[in-house]
């Protein structure tokens, strides 16, 4: 049956990071789904609901951690899938550079958006 094993080009640290990030995501994603699809009236938060929700100081911290873990898990997972296609050394180094850039851009943009919403909600 399918289990996750470290691949030669993956390295123990990245393999472990992918698994631990996955377990953290399960918890935060549960809260994320619950708030956005079960608690919110009508199923999704309106603009004013989002601003009010982000005034709880735990929420932006949780969302930024969620963003970091989910982007890292997604890119490490995608890299792991690509490793199954046996890419050459040169191609893999381009994949690594591309994924690091995508990760940095996604996390920077997402973090900016979180703090933008917090500032809007506080009237700053």
């Amino acid at each position: 049956m399918y289990t996750s094993t470290k691949k030669p080009q993956e390295g123990t640290f990245l393999w472990l990071a992918k698994i631990i990030a996955g377990l953290v995501i399960v918890i935060i994603l549960g809260i994320h789904f619950w708030v956005n699809h079960l608690v919110a009236p009508g199923g999704l938060l309106s603009y004013s609901d989002v601003l009010a929700y982000y005034q709880n100081p735990i929420v932006p911290i949780m969302e930024v951690f969620f963003l970091i873990f989910v982007v890292a898990h997604a890119l490490l997972g995608l890299r792991s899938i690509l490793l199954d296609l046996n890419p050459g050394k040169k191609l893999l180094s381009w994949i690594n550079i591309g994924f690091i850039l995508i990760g940095i851009i996604a996390i920077t943009y997402g973090t900016w958006l979180v703090f933008f919403v917090v500032a809007k909600g506080s009237g700053a």
Binding site: M1, Y2, T3, S4, T5, K7, I19, G22, L23, I25, V26, L29, G30, F33, H37, L38, G42, G43, L44, L45, S46, Y47, S48, V50, V70, V71, A74, L75, G77, L78, I81, D84, L85, N86, A106, Y109, G110, L113, F116, V117
Partner: protein, 128 residues
């Protein structure tokens, strides 16, 4: 039980013919992973409407509540629940926990996933 062999044939990963339960778990994990990764980046881009003000965001929410988008959202939630619960089994097994009972654990977790998905479907389509 051993890992599924790595494949250089991409399409073989998604071929469900003559597969055992373990391969179904593998296929489910891969398909949901690819779908969720695509959704993650689309989600980040779409949430950019928050920066464009209440009108832009609330118009997007109005669109998100249309049946077609709701069906898409339900698929994303289903994929998240299946990937997350199957992922717990994979993580435990990777550390040597519950490897003897992984088939039973997989079936049990997928039953839990079906129950969770049903709750979300009921809430999203038929109200609380």
């Amino acid at each position: 039980m051993k890992n599924e062999p790595n494949s250089i044939n991409l399409l073989r990963w998604f071929d469900p013919r003559n597969r055992k339960l373990g391969t179904w778990a593998f296929i489910l994990n891969r398909i949901t992973a690819l779908g969720l990764t695509l959704y993650l980046f689309m989600h980040l881009i779409v949430l950019g409407t928050l920066a464009r003000g209440p009108e832009a965001y609330d118009n997007f929410i109005k669109l998100a509540k249309t049946p077609i988008i709701l069906i898409g959202e339900t698929l994303v939630i289903a994929a998240g629940i299946i990937h997350g619960l199957n992922g717990i089994r994979i993580a435990l097994n990777s550390f040597g926990i519950g490897t003897r009972y992984q088939q039973q654990i997989f079936i049990g977790l997928m039953v839990v996933a079906a129950g969770c998905i049903a709750i979300f479907v009921k809430s999203m389509f038929f109200g609380h």
